[in-house]
């Protein structure tokens, strides 16, 4: 979709007065069957995932994989040298199954370390961050999103998107400053 001036349209967006108003509006937009839309707020709003029809984040699965990788890394890192490369008898204790607990601290630490890296990179990659810019930033009012602004945007590429009806839906739900956001 293009504007009369030839700009590509990214979305129609509206501002809401409060977190509660945004929450109610999100439920309406979800029930209207939209798929490519988003809400923006300065803090996570409790219950917004259900209001938007989003399930539980699957980031935890990535972290589990990270944790298992860390555990296996530690096993190889510790037992490779201790058993094969440089067997060392300390305190009169050769490398047998009885000394296995002495390897636990490092196994534990590396499991935590790899899980944490997995969590840290997963939330960025799954969110498509870091990125330099985003069409939403073309809207001057949007700078308040990190302060006290509550916004809802329905993207033009949503199959149900139509300029007039989408706009009236945002109006009905109490959206203010309804604006067409340009792609570039």
């Amino acid at each position: 979709m293009k504007t009369p001036y030839g700009h590509n349209v990214y979305a129609i967006a509206a501002e809401y007065r409060s977190a509660a108003a945004l929450y109610e509006a999100a439920k309406r937009v979800r029930d209207a069957g939209f798929k490519r839309w988003d809400v923006f707020s300065p803090f996570p709003i409790h219950g917004m995932d259900e209001a938007m029809g989003l399930g539980k984040s699957w980031l935890s699965a990535v972290v589990l994989v990270g944790g298992i990788t860390g555990l296996l890394t530690a096993l190889i890192l510790e037992w490779g040298p201790s058993w094969i490369l440089y067997p060392l008898i300390v305190h009169g204790k050769p490398f047998t199954w009885r000394v296995v607990p002495a390897f636990f601290p490092i196994i534990f630490e590396l499991t935590i370390l790899f899980s944490s890296f997995a969590a840290f990179f997963a939330w960025q990659i799954m969110n498509g961050l870091p990125r330099w810019n985003h069409p939403m930033f073309n809207w001057n009012r949007f700078a308040r999103v990190t302060n006290d602004g509550f916004f809802l945007a329905i993207e033009a590429r949503d199959p149900r998107f139509s300029e007039k009806e989408t706009q009236s839906l945002l109006e009905e739900t109490g959206g203010e400053h309804i604006t067409i956001i340009h792609e570039e």
């Binding site: 988003d38 300065p42 803090f43 999103v145």
Partner: protein, 487 residues
């Protein structure tokens, strides 16, 4: 205050009219502040010109850090003999300082991770600066194991790297566990801290007026735009990082205590050490959090965000952990007697009557066991001067405790012929003072360039953040003007 609307009688009224909420909760942010007020007040500390006190404080701490770095350079170039180390006291202020600093870090992780899992919403006002304190304390701690080995250039031997001698570290040694525990702790703390910072860096980016600030905050904010699709994964990552940090922080000081507990020295060879060290770490760490937060609260006028309620709760944690530490001290004495081991018994008599007797009486008994008992009293928990006094006692007391454990254990061991004493040199003293300079300089830089309170998290605890705010009549009342809110 600042033209805000406040109310005393509303809470009483709320309690009487609201059926659903028989006990009115004391708000975490006072005087019904708005989201914009929170942004404004916290960002102002970063955006305004540096106040005069900041420059004076920074100049002093940087000078101190410089002296410390000089001492470290002198020690590295000359040798560990510049410290007062001798035989039998091969570990003294170096490892005392290491344990002291690493312990301080633990409070930050307790606040950011454990209190998060326990849904303690009051943590939002203090978690950011406590986490920053953790990082800076761990940086100070990491200096000492590095330089105490004497030949710093051989420190890479700690890492399990393939080398042409075919030598590998001993993975069954607590000293190597320590390397992994402390480096993991630092790394995970950085990741957790930075994850929490991203939305606030977005705020600073959107408020920035100069191009340089906009660029730098923009880069570090990673393009954050507050999207709920992002918050969903972000909150899961935050929860998991908290869940991972919780056992991690308990493990770090446990591993530090293994350095001692796995040896055979009287007073070191005890199974009580891991929980005793962890409780002591949280105890000392909370004292340091308050040491930094009380001045910051006054200087940046954050009384509505860091309220007396917060100070009260932190004082209660100091009381709890201080009493646990006191119990551990008593249990050590009991076991020394009950074990019937003459070396163990002697070591504890030596602790209270030996050459370092006053370290025990002043540091461990008065500072660590007795002074926090003031916090049984509500007035004491809510008087910032009393709180500050106790925190200073605890800061000192915890350092003395570690000194007594380390040097007290070493200086008189099994054979009287090998007894000795430890006398610190000027290098010992100025290196330790220098780490305070490094710690405080880093903290001052932090409050200048990063938001010292997590704005996005404080906003969540405001009543307006509730998606059902105003939905149920009688649940939230507008606030009448005049008067002061109950704290």
């Amino acid at each position: 205050m600042d033209g805000a609307t406040t109310a005393p009688e509303v809470i009483a009224e709320e309690a009487s009219t609201s059926v659903e909420r028989p006990l009115a909760r004391v708000p975490l942010v006072l005087n019904r502040r708005s989201f914009a007020w929170v942004t404004e007040r916290i960002s102002a500390a970063v955006e305004n010109r540096a106040p005069k006190w900041w420059w004076i404080a920074f100049a002093c701490t940087v000078a101190l850090a410089g002296i410390g770095l000089f001492c470290i350079g002198y020690q590295i170039s000359t040798g560990v003999g510049t410290w007062g180390l001798n035989s039998p006291v091969g570990w003294a202020w170096d490892i005392t300082n290491f344990v002291f600093w690493i312990g301080i870090g633990h409070a930050g992780t307790l606040i950011s991770a454990i209190l998060y899992l326990l849904r303690q919403k009051w943590r939002t006002s203090i978690n950011r600066s406590a986490e920053a304190m953790t990082l800076f304390a761990v940086i100070c701690a990491a200096i000492f194991p590095g330089i105490h080995v004497g030949r710093v250039w051989m420190a890479w031997y700690l890492a399990p790297l393939p080398n042409n001698y075919g030598i590998w570290p001993n993975f069954r040694s607590p000293l190597l566990w320590d390397v992994f525990a402390v480096s993991t702790y630092f790394t995970v703390s950085v990741l957790f801290w930075y994850t929490g910072l991203v939305p606030d860096l977005g705020t600073l980016r959107d408020r920035a007026t100069s191009k340089v600030r906009k660029f730098l905050y923009g880069v570090f904010a990673l393009g954050w735009r507050g999207s709920n699709r992002h918050w969903r994964h972000y909150e899961m990552a935050y929860l998991l990082l908290a869940g991972l940090s919780t056992p991690l922080v308990l493990s770090v000081h446990s591993v530090v205590s293994f350095d001692f507990a796995t040896s055979i020295l009287p007073t070191w060879h005890t199974t009580i050490f891991p929980p005793y060290f962890v409780a002591g770490a949280i105890f000392g760490g909370f004292a340091m959090v308050l040491t930094l937060m009380l001045p910051a609260r006054a200087l940046f006028k954050l009384h509505d965000i860091i309220t007396l309620q917060h100070i009260d709760k932190m004082a209660k944690i100091i009381l709890l952990t201080g009493s646990m530490v006191g119990y551990a001290y008593a249990m050590e004495f009991f076991i020394a007697w009950y074990s019937g081991n003459q070396y163990e018994r002697f070591a504890f008599w030596n602790r209270i009557l030996g050459p370092y007797w006053w370290y025990w009486w002043v540091g461990m008994l008065f500072c660590n066991c007795l002074s926090p008992q003031l916090f049984w009293n509500r007035w004491c928990r809510r008087n910032v001067f009393v709180v500050y006094f106790v925190c200073m006692c605890v800061n000192a007391g915890m350092w003395f405790e570690r000194f007594i454990i380390i040097v007290g254990g070493l200086h008189r061991d099994f054979l009287p012929s090998s007894w000795g004493l430890f006398i610190p040199t000027w290098v010992d003293m100025w290196t330790f003072a220098g780490t305070f300079g490094i710690f405080l300089s880093l903290f001052l830089l932090f409050i200048r360039f990063l938001p010292l309170i997590a704005m996005s998290e404080v906003k969540i605890v405001l009543p307006e953040a509730d998606p059902h705010y105003g939905a149920t009549p009688g649940e939230h009342h507008p606030v009448a003007a005049g008067g002061k809110e109950r704290t």
